[in-house]
């Protein structure tokens, strides 16, 4: 039996599911070239540089950007730029911290025996089995109660008052990112051949040198894929951010959500298109780097 033989039904279902996955994204991108401001109606594409764009019922000339009218509009939107900056700042900081402490925990759980080990291992599964909103409101309660109590106890007033912001978002992100880093690195450590480390020790390297020269390079792919997973989780997060952000710490998903509840212009589509393309290019680049690494080096 040919292992790659597939029934036509499976192929038909596959095509349909891929269509289902991609049709909304294609429509979303097409609408970012919409000639209507309201975006309720599709007024056709902005086709050339002389085309007009409907603006509040009347037609105005499209900007010099032509078909990319909404993209130019977007680049002038300070709120979007600020939200993008916040999103990236939070993702970077949270990824670095969660990768470091998550890798440490993976080593501890895989290599050592200690008293709180069962508790440490169990707590990793909490973010997987508990709905995000439950975590979100719990963290919100924790922060608002603690901050309220501290503000009163320390007599903080005005700007000195503790409040939600980028810090609370990043700290909360780390809480749900760490378990994923730890589980990914742990999986990598499970298939680890200890004889390399033993060889290094036999040759006189101490534990510290052995770790940095042997163990770490070998688990590095696991650490990197854990970090990448954590980074994408942070970029994508809506619920936890929704409950822990404050004035000035709006992220892109929160910003888009805010727009959806008010007026929607093709600007949102332009933003989505930029986002999708960025992710697409980043992932392609990563795949390319990975495939280059896996190929044996030619002299």
């Amino acid at each position: 039996m040919n292992p790659h033989r597939r029934s036509p039904w499976v192929i038909a279902a596959t095509v349909l599911v891929y269509f289902f996955l991609y049709a909304p994204i294609v429509v979303l991108i097409l609408y970012s070239f919409n000639a209507s401001r309201a975006n309720v109606k599709f007024e056709g594409f902005i086709t050339s540089f002389s085309d007009r764009v409907e603006m509040d019922g009347s037609f105005v000339k499209a900007s010099p950007c032509g078909p990319f009218h909404w993209f130019c509009d977007l680049s002038k939107n300070d709120d979007v730029l600020e939200a993008a900056g916040n999103t990236l700042t939070i993702a970077f900081v949270a990824t670095i911290i969660s990768t470091i402490i998550g890798t440490m925990a993976a080593l501890a759980l895989q290599r050592y025996d200690f008293k709180i080990k069962p508790f440490s291992q169990l707590s990793l599964y909490i973010p997987i089995v508990i709905p995000e909103i439950v975590m979100g409101i719990g963290i919100l309660t924790l922060f608002s109660q603690t901050f309220g109590w501290l503000n009163e106890a320390l007599n903080l007033t005005g700007d000195a008052r503790l409040s939600m912001g980028i810090g609370t978002v990043a700290v909360s992100h780390i809480a749900f990112m760490v378990p994923f880093v730890t589980l990914v690195v742990q999986a990598r450590l499970q298939g680890f051949d200890k004889s390399y480390e033993e060889a290094a020790m036999d040759l006189g390297a101490n534990e510290w040198v052995t770790f940095w020269r042997v163990t770490f390079p070998m688990i590095l792919p696991g650490v990197l894929s854990g970090a990448l997973l954590a980074f994408t989780l942070s970029l994508d997060d809506f619920v936890i951010t929704f409950f822990t952000n404050g004035p000035g710490s709006t992220t892109l998903p929160i910003y888009v959500y805010g727009l959806l509840r008010r007026i929607i212009t093709p600007q949102v589509n332009a933003l989505s298109t930029v986002w999708i393309l960025t992710v697409f290019i980043a992932v392609l680049l990563l795949q390319w780097l990975q495939s280059r690494e896996q190929k044996p080096a030619h002299e």
Binding site: V10, D113, P131, V239, S272
Partner: protein, 307 residues
């Protein structure tokens, strides 16, 4: 001291695990405990929490009401019970549809040529990496009265000379179901693929040698061996669907209220954190019960991590 640390393996382990364990303790376990404490409290007139030990919020959630039509002291109000059962039903339906859609695709990828598998998987991941909120928005564009689906149907109907009035598909329970299925489909495809890919080809050859037809092979080999993937996918889909509020908020309007929306509104609009906390704990207990019985029946696969 340092010497002792160097020799004591248990101390080293504790030291390495401590940051993560502490972080999770402070930001996951203490908040859950606080939520429980708040849920027994009462709301003060200006929206603050008065700490007490009352089950009022839970009673209200399960239908106990003092706001009755004909002068009765108490009566049954089905409002919140309906919200809970609606969320459960939606989560079950979504999971079922997602399994039916994900399975053939995962099977197709697992059985395709190894060189092409990565590309097909990559094609599943692209929509997943497109932001969650943006994906809901995409369905808004498709489903609205002037949206893409109505434009296409209208265009086809026009060709066939059949009169067509655009359907209002947005703000219906169906819209929420489609949105949920779309959001969580990749989370089912990946674990099913992982377990299908592990199946040894020799098993298929043995089945063929022993005269099993394609259907029998699927039923006796493929399906049982892919169950860990289905179980892992179910957990990854069912739990978030139970708690999501954006999909119903944007695609359901005010028509489809789920537990997630109820909780969110208690914290932001209605300003009754005590009732919101009670609802949140009930949501958690509901998902834990379902997950517990489900995994006890089918086992808890490592596919969750693989995804």
């Amino acid at each position: 001291m340092l010497q002792r640390f160097r020799e004591n393996k248990s101390m080293q382990g504790t030291f390495l695990a401590l940051p993560t364990t502490l972080w999770l303790f402070v930001l996951l376990i203490i908040p859950l405990f606080l939520t429980m404490v708040v849920s027994f409290g009462q709301r003060s007139p200006d929206g603050d929490v008065i700490y007490s030990f009352s089950f009022d919020n839970y009673a209200r959630l399960f239908g106990y009401s003092t706001d009755c039509p004909d002068g009765q002291a108490s009566c049954f109000d089905s409002l919140y019970v309906n919200i809970l059962s609606r969320s459960l039903t939606l989560a079950f339906n979504t999971t079922l549809i997602v399994i039916l859609l994900a399975y053939p695709l995962a099977y197709f990828i697992a059985r395709s040529h190894p060189n092409r598998r990565n590309m097909f998987l990559f094609m599943v991941l692209i929509p997943l990496w497109t932001n969650f909120v943006i994906r809901v928005y995409a369905w808004m564009m498709l489903l609205r009265k002037e949206g893409a689906i109505n434009i296409v149907i209208g265009w086809v109907m026009n060709l066939l000379n059949i009169p067509y009035t655009p359907l209002e598909m947005l703000y219906t329970p169906g819209a929420v179901l489609v949105g949920m299925v779309y959001e969580f489909l990749p989370f089912m495809i990946l674990p099913i693929y992982t377990s299908l890919e592990k199946i040894d080809n020799s098993l298929y050859e043995a089945a063929a040698d022993l005269g099993a037809n394609a259907f029998r092979t699927f039923l006796r080999i493929t399906l049982p061996l892919s169950m860990p993937g289905v179980v892992a996918g179910t957990i990854l889909v069912f739990i978030p669907v139970m708690g999501t509020f954006i999909v119903s908020d944007i695609l359901g309007g005010r028509q489809v209220i789920l537990v997630g929306n109820l909780i969110q509104r208690q914290f932001l609009d209605a300003r009754d954190p005590t009732f919101g906390s009670a609802a949140s704990l009930i949501l958690m207990v509901m998902t834990l019960i379902v997950t517990y019985f489900y995994t006890r029946k089918f086992g808890f696969g490592e596919e969750i991590i693989a995804a």
